[in-house]
Structure formats: C-alpha cells, structure tokens
Symmetry: C2
Subunit: 288 residues, 2 copies
Amino acid sequence: MKVSFLGLGVMGYPMAGHLQRAGHDVTVYNRTEAKAKAWAGEYGGSHRPTPATAVEGSEIVFCCVGNDDDLRQVLAGKDGAFQGMGKGAILADHTTVSAEVTRELAALAAQKGLGYLDAPVSGGQAGAVNGKLTVMVGGDPQTFAKAEPLMQSYGRAVTLMGPVGNGQLTKMVNQICIAGLVQGLSEALNFAAKAGLDGNKVIEVISKGAAQSWQMENRGTTMLEGKFDFGFAVDWMRKDLAICLDEARRNGAPLPVTAIVDQFYQRVQERGGKRWDTSSLIQLLANP
Amino acid sequence: MKVSFLGLGVMGYPMAGHLQRAGHDVTVYNRTEAKAKAWAGEYGGSHRPTPATAVEGSEIVFCCVGNDDDLRQVLAGKDGAFQGMGKGAILADHTTVSAEVTRELAALAAQKGLGYLDAPVSGGQAGAVNGKLTVMVGGDPQTFAKAEPLMQSYGRAVTLMGPVGNGQLTKMVNQICIAGLVQGLSEALNFAAKAGLDGNKVIEVISKGAAQSWQMENRGTTMLEGKFDFGFAVDWMRKDLAICLDEARRNGAPLPVTAIVDQFYQRVQERGGKRWDTSSLIQLLANP
C-alpha cells in the first residue's frame, strides 16, 4: 500500500522502517531533511521536503512529531499534510498530544473528507525498534480496520479504545499510573538503602507479591545504582503530565499525587536531568 | 518437632494449621480461648490458657499478634512466652511491628539464652490459607536454618534478609511501594472513568507495559466497581504506615507521598472504611 510517515524521531524512524520492510511503499518527511535522506538510504523508501508533497497519493498517512504545536503545523500549517491528502485518505497520529488538539484536528480532517485516528504508543524506543509497541487508538471502527494491519508491523498490541480522543485519554491513564508508582518505588528503594538493606535482594523478594510492578522489575536495580542515562526522558514525561493535568481540569478528576510528582520532575529538570529516565525521581530523595 | 503458635487471628489460625498438618506437634495460645479450642478441634493439636504454659518444651515458638504492645505483652508480659521457653529455644515472630520493638525483644531474648527471628509476611489471608506467604526474615543464619523448614509449610518464599530487624524493614519497603502505587492507580482509574473510557479495556491494554502492577491486575476491576469488602484492611495498612513513617524519622529517608497517602487512608477510615481493602483510596477521588 502507498503510505507516508511524517516525523522521523527516535520513535518515527524505526516505525516507518517497519512499514517499508512489511512491503509497503513509504514516503517520509522530516523537519531536518538530512534524517529523511538517511532513512531512505537505509530502508529504500522515498522522501519529500514538505508534508504536503510527502502525502501525495497515500492511502494512509502516519505521523509522530513532538507536541500539540508541532502536530498543528505538520497537519494544518503551510504545506501541511491536509493540503496534499486525497479524499478518503486516513491520518493516523502516533504523537502523544492533548485530547483537545486531537478533536480539533479530527474535525478539520472530517471537513476535508479525511479519516482520522489518534494512536499514541507506549513501549519506548526499544519497543519501536523491536516492533513491539502498545498502540492505543481512538477513531471510528471502519477507519481503524483499514489502518490496524499496518500498525501491526510495529505494534504488539493495537487496540481501538473508542471514538477520536480515546487513544490519547488511554495514554494519559498510563502516564498517571506511572507517576505515582515510580514515586512510591523511589521512596521505598531509598528507604531500603537508608535502612542498610540489600536493595536487590529486597526487590527479588517483594516483586513476588502485592508491591510488584514492571517498574520495580525493570528499573529497580538501575535506580539503586543511580543510573538514569536511558529510557523515557523526564522532559517527555513532563510534557505528558501537563496534558494529563490539563485534561483533568476539564473532566474534574482529582490528581493530587500526580500534580506533586510533576513538581518533583521539575526539580529533576533543574538538576540537569531533562534527559534522564523517568525513574530518576529517586535521585531527589537520595541527594536532597 | 514440638512447637507452639501464639495468636490465632486471620493469619495465625491457618499458619498454625499448616504446621500441625506438616506433622509437627503444635500447642497454641490465643487471647480469646474459644478460638484456641476451635483450632485444636479442627487440627488436632493442643491449647493452653497462657503463652508461658503454651510454649513449655517447644523448640520453636511462632507468634502472630496485632501490634507492638500486643507483642511485648505476649512475649515479655505477665505469663509471657519468655517465662516458659527453655534455653536454646527460638522465637519466630510473624507480626508486622516496628524494627525498634523487634530489636528490644531480640535483646531480651538473647539475655535469656533464646534465639529470635523477626519474620513478617505478605500475601494476606489467602496466602496464609493456601500456604503461599512471602516470609521476610531477620536474624542470624544458624537460627534461621532451624526455623526455615517449618516456615516452608506456609511460605512460598522464605528469605533471610540480614540481622534481626531486617525482616521488618523489608516489609516496610513493601508497604511504601504499595502506598504510592495504589494512589497512582486510583488517580489513573478514576481519571479513566471521568474521561468516559471503558476502564477494564484500559487495564487490559496498559497492563502490558510500563504501568503494569500486581495491584492493577488484581485490584483494577474491583476498584472500578467500587468493591472494597475484602483484602488487606485500611486499619492494618495505617498501622504499617505508622511504623514506616516512624522508622523514616530515624533513618532520614524522605517519604513525602507515603505521608500524604497515610492521610488519605485516615479519610477512608473516617468514612467508615476501616475494614475496606487498601485499594479503597479511589473512593476518595470518585466521591470527594
């Protein structure tokens, strides 16, 4: 199938590669064109200098950029994708953005006779490289049915969560869980260290019971070692938490601990931890 | 082996039963004697009206009571276990108490020529009934080696965590993890409901990734349904968190979110939720 991919960051680059390797005819666009050239050199697809030209003739246009403003620009801005897409084509957005901008752009797409799916992912860079992302999709079932087989090329679990916006809202639930959980784990592991316990032995024992979590099993040891130079960066987490807190103002859900943890992440940023993994919250406790 | 078990609450009753069924000669004591009679009727062991008489001739005395004061009373009080235990016998305490009282009673035991193990458990009533508890033990290796095979009769994982007190400290790490984690999960699932998402579908999707936890998998659905009439009670959790917060004052570990969650549990108690499961934190958010 002729498709396009807009945005070749740490996620988009390998995702677009999976589509090309799965036998699709992929044309890419990236703000920094050198990366688009490198991608075409590596995978053998095409590249174009603007979103509008990159999407010409494509049945589905995938997109993974930075934030709300980037997304508005690449879709609805000058030379944006919506200018080049043919009637009946589908825009599938993998960026984590607000439900608000999603509904705004989906309405604009509908006016132009385009389908729209919001499809944020989790699983990080490793999930994108290995084709094992969790994809949380919002949109109508017919549109989803067309895009879903292609998303399988980089997705381990691709699920329709309801109408447009529900993909983003599901991703927000995921991030809210992680905020409180990582803070609790940080307080616990720092307490273990202060109490003179063997932290790794503690993790081994308590990960068999009610305190168990993916974060404990995958980040516990590196947290104890103070290693944060990898994983999902604090800057990205704060972008996501801002979206969560903003949406909660609208729907009225109280987020007392999420709001505090967002403040803690601000302190991590101030300490130079903008690119540190989300698990770096423990650093504030270990070295207050 | 001739052993004793002091304290036949929801945990101790089945634990003592496992010991008797494993072929040991168990004598029990319980503050309310009727329950000790019922136990002996069910399992075929003996019972005595005081700790001091119940421990006579036993090589190992197990104990599982309520809190620091109960433990002091049953071990070092009038007609307490220490009065009846023979030199070289071992006291293995399964109560979750402070590391402080543990060290105090272990020192007293040493003066009397007795061995001492602190061995708090996790896994709840179901774990006790099914013999699948996690047992976190503090004490010296020789003493542990004698008691460990008997603990296996109700333990799925029995681990020596270091010297006396380290069992309790490990249990504290476990409870600190759970406090932050359950609050994060509560904020997330309540947000999902407010956002109009299908909460169970959200759990199914996000439990495959970085937000996954035992609590999400085992409590997520009941939290969405507002069912809390089971599990580890808020009263017990507050007892444990008081121990954690107190110990943290001594070792200097900051517990900002744990302290707030303890306050939230206080509000759950005030609402009549003293016996509700720990996952009832979501109730404060759903019905503020």
